[in-house]
């Protein structure tokens, strides 16, 4: 393992862990609407930490990703449910969550086992998150919503932007990996290709976490 490769892999985790730490600091001030988002940040931090330890121990950390995709979408759907409360019927977001959960469980059990990369689940999660984030942008243009969410609007916009940027780019990255090279998988890619993909992914992760940081910084503080 080259030193540069090691540094890059650690650097990719840093923004996630930094936002995780900042999230712990800010949690006591968080308004109820943002609680599911904080749980998502905590989950991301824990999963990132756990998967890096397994990576150092040279053990397969992909089961963590399967868990992260499932639980991550659960918290994100709850977050959007809170944000769009009163404007979108709750059952619609619940339906998305149930469909996604069912698909992820089937995928991890029969199609892409937990020791392999779950690209289909990641793509589905990205599709759902992109739909919800685009919808949130459109909804936030309405005066009625602006008035109702006036305190949260700034923070919400940053968080939503981060999610949109990361998940739309992830969609492309994972789509290209899954469909552009249908006869290959992550296991047989060259180390260099794997590394470049993760660096690109890491860049979008950094952007998302920076947006998360701004979202937390501008959130209305509840004493």
């Amino acid at each position: 393992m080259s030193e540069g490769y090691l540094i890059a892999m650690i650097a990719i985790s840093l923004p996630v862990l930094a936002v995780f730490g900042y999230g712990i600091k800010m949690f006591k001030y968080s308004p109820d609407e943002l609680k599911p988002f904080f749980y998502f940040i905590f989950l991301s931090g824990i999963i990132e930490f756990g998967s890096k330890i397994l990576w150092f121990l040279k053990l397969n950390n992909l089961p963590f990703l399967h868990l992260y995709v499932l639980l991550g979408f659960y918290f994100l759907s709850r977050f959007y449910q809170q944000m769009l409360d009163g404007f979108i019927d709750k059952w619609l977001i619940n339906l998305m969550l149930y469909l996604f959960t069912a698909f992820t469980v089937i995928n991890s059990t029969f199609i892409q086992p937990i020791t392999t990369f779950n690209s289909f689940a990641v793509i589905s999660e990205s599709v759902f998150v992109v739909i919800l984030s685009l919808l949130t942008f459109m909804v936030m243009l309405e005066d009625v919503v602006k008035k109702k969410k006036i305190k949260l609007a700034r923070s919400m916009n940053w968080i939503n932007s981060g999610l949109f940027i990361y998940y739309s780019s992830s969609l492309l990255i994972y789509y290209l990996n899954s469909f552009l090279f249908p006869d290959q998988s992550f296991r047989v890619f060259s180390r260099e290709f794997h590394f470049q993909t993760w660096v690109l992914h890491g860049f979008f992760l950094l952007v998302m976490n920076f947006c998360f940081y701004l979202g937390l910084r501008f959130m209305p503080r509840q004493q």
Partner: protein, 257 residues
Amino acid sequence: MKQEPNFITLLLPFALIVFLISVGVILLYQQFRKNLYKRELEQRTLEGKHQNELLKASLEAHEEERNRIARDMHDELGAVLSIARMQVIQIERQTNDPNLKTNLKEIKETAESALSSMRRLTHQLMPPLLDEFGMIKALESVVEKINCSCELSIDLIVSEDFPRTSRVTELAIYRVAMELINNTLKHAKAKRTQIIFSVADSHIQLFYKDDGIGLPKEFAPGLGLRNIEARINSVNGKIHIDGEQGKGFYADIKVPM
């Protein structure tokens, strides 16, 4: 042999993903617009209801105040004037001075005139017939007085089965009818007026018509008509007014019983 990437394997899944995202966003946005419209409608209904309640409360307070003033005038001012009149009569009996008797007689007449004015005012503020015998009797009494003055001839037609209804509704209709009569007397230059009371589909219907000058071409409702509308709204009623210039004025009012 490696499979060459083609449209089906490369672009179709991507196009499907983009399509799914677009359809998802559009459908959810439609749902959002529908919910927004529903919310706006509910809010407007709530605002209307709230305004109606405020109006009702304000009119009730207004009526209560009129009632209190009428009662106080009758009980206090009326009693004081009656006592003063009695005292004047007593002094008049006791004195033999003709000058003083003449002066006392004038004071007695002034007190009687004040008593009569006070009685007229209290009746206007809160007609005693309204509470005791209902709005039809109260209106009949008013119409009789107006017809006697020969200024205007009013035909009050009431259907046989016309019932008595709640005090609030009767008071509202009575005040509206009085305002309409007042408007006819003040502005319409009318000779004849027709007031018809009937009942249809559990609604009280009041049809009012005069043969006066009607409404001007560019008519803007004044305070009187706005008061009428407010009173009718307060009892969940509906009013329709019309009147071409030179062809008289009419109002059609429906109030739930």
